[in-house]
């Protein structure tokens, strides 16, 4: 069992940071709603509030780590231009997708949208975390502020979902590969 360095970075970007962010989103949305509504069950202890602030900060770190590794580590391998005359395009995912009418949409729609929409996620969640850390439970007394914060949190989830979906599909049709091979385990011959 082995993986290439580029494959490993793609895994860290998508399955590590990105998928973990998406998993964290549902918890954040529920907790944001619970902490900031006025009904009695929303009363939380200072410890719970502190934990949620750390949770949101972890989401901020995950969101930025996802877009930065995506744009500056994986994306350059994805968009690398092949030398003239190259016919084997497996090492050039963008050109591989663009070489067939059945896959070009994964680049022209999928990657073109994903590479920009993904950045709404860290911008939105950084704002959400800042506002919650600043206001805490006082946010329940700012109804319109709370509604806007929740809307941006939902938008960050939607943007991350779009980017994650297209990232997974693009990597299915034209995986980023190459670099050194890392041996994970030695299989036995049958």
């Amino acid at each position: 069992m082995e993986i290439t360095v580029r494959g490993l970075w793609t895994l860290i970007h998508g399955m590590g940071f990105g998928a973990l962010y998406l998993l964290a989103c549902s918890g954040a949305l529920v907790e944001l709603h619970r902490f900031t509504t006025s009904s009695p069950p929303s009363v939380a202890t200072p410890g719970q509030e502190r934990f949620f602030k750390v949770y949101l900060l972890a989401m901020v770190v995950l969101a930025w780590a996802t877009v930065l590794t995506g744009a500056y580590v994986v994306y350059p391998w994805y968009r690398a231009a092949p030398p003239p005359g190259t016919t084997a395009l497996a090492m050039f995912p963008q050109r591989l997708l663009m070489s067939s009418s059945t896959t070009i949409g994964w680049h022209s729609l999928g990657m073109e949208w994903k590479e920009h929409v993904a950045w709404f996620t860290p911008i939105s969640i950084t704002m959400v975390a800042f506002v919650f850390i600043r206001y805490g439970r006082d946010l329940k007394n700012h109804r319109q502020l709370r509604a806007a914060v929740l809307s941006f949190a939902v938008a960050s989830f939607v943007a991350a979902g779009i980017a994650g979906f297209f990232g997974a599909m693009i990597n299915k049709y034209a995986p980023v590969q190459g670099g050194h091979t890392i041996q994970l385990s030695q299989g036995e011959e049958k």
């Binding site: 006025s38 877009v67 744009a71 500056y72 994306y75 350059p76 968009r79 022209s108 729609l109 073109e112 949208w113 590479e115 920009h116 929409v117 950045w119 709404f120 911008i123 939105s124 950084t126 704002m127 800042f130 506002v131 600043r134 206001y135 006082d138 946010l139 007394n141 700012h142 319109q144 502020l145 509604a147 806007a148 914060v149 809307s151 941006f152 938008a155 939607v158 943007a159």
Partner: protein, 115 residues
């Protein structure tokens, strides 16, 4: 209209809404800046070339770095102006969410292709 802070009753806000409004509006502006720059870079070769800050990443490096700068600078300015004030958050939230919605549309390739 800006009003002073007050905490007269248990349900009255302890903090003014200015700081939150600043963060929300700046997030909307930053998102919109990113979408406009991405759209401009896609349509104009001169803009595209000027946005290549890091060659391996191409114009995406300039689009995102410039948008982040616009976002942070606008955030600092609004925070400085509104930090201790109560502002019209309803209008600001509508503008910020409108900018975010437009940004989502402007980054969608079939809509970009209309320009």
């Amino acid at each position: 209209m800006n009003m002073p802070n007050s905490a007269a009753s248990p349900n009255a806000p302890v903090l003014t809404n200015g700081s939150g409004a600043a963060a929300i509006l700046a997030a909307g502006i930053g998102s919109f800046a990113l979408a406009v720059l991405a759209c401009a870079g896609d349509k104009l070769a001169a803009v595209k070339n000027s946005l290549i800050f890091y060659k391996p990443t191409g114009p995406l490096s300039g689009v995102t770095a410039s948008a982040i700068l616009i976002w942070l600078v606008s955030w600092v300015i609004f925070e400085w102006r509104w930090r201790n004030k109560t502002v019209g958050i309803g209008r600001i939230a509508v503008i910020a969410l409108g900018l975010l919605g437009l940004s989502l549309l402007l980054t969608f390739p079939p809509i970009v292709d209309l320009f």
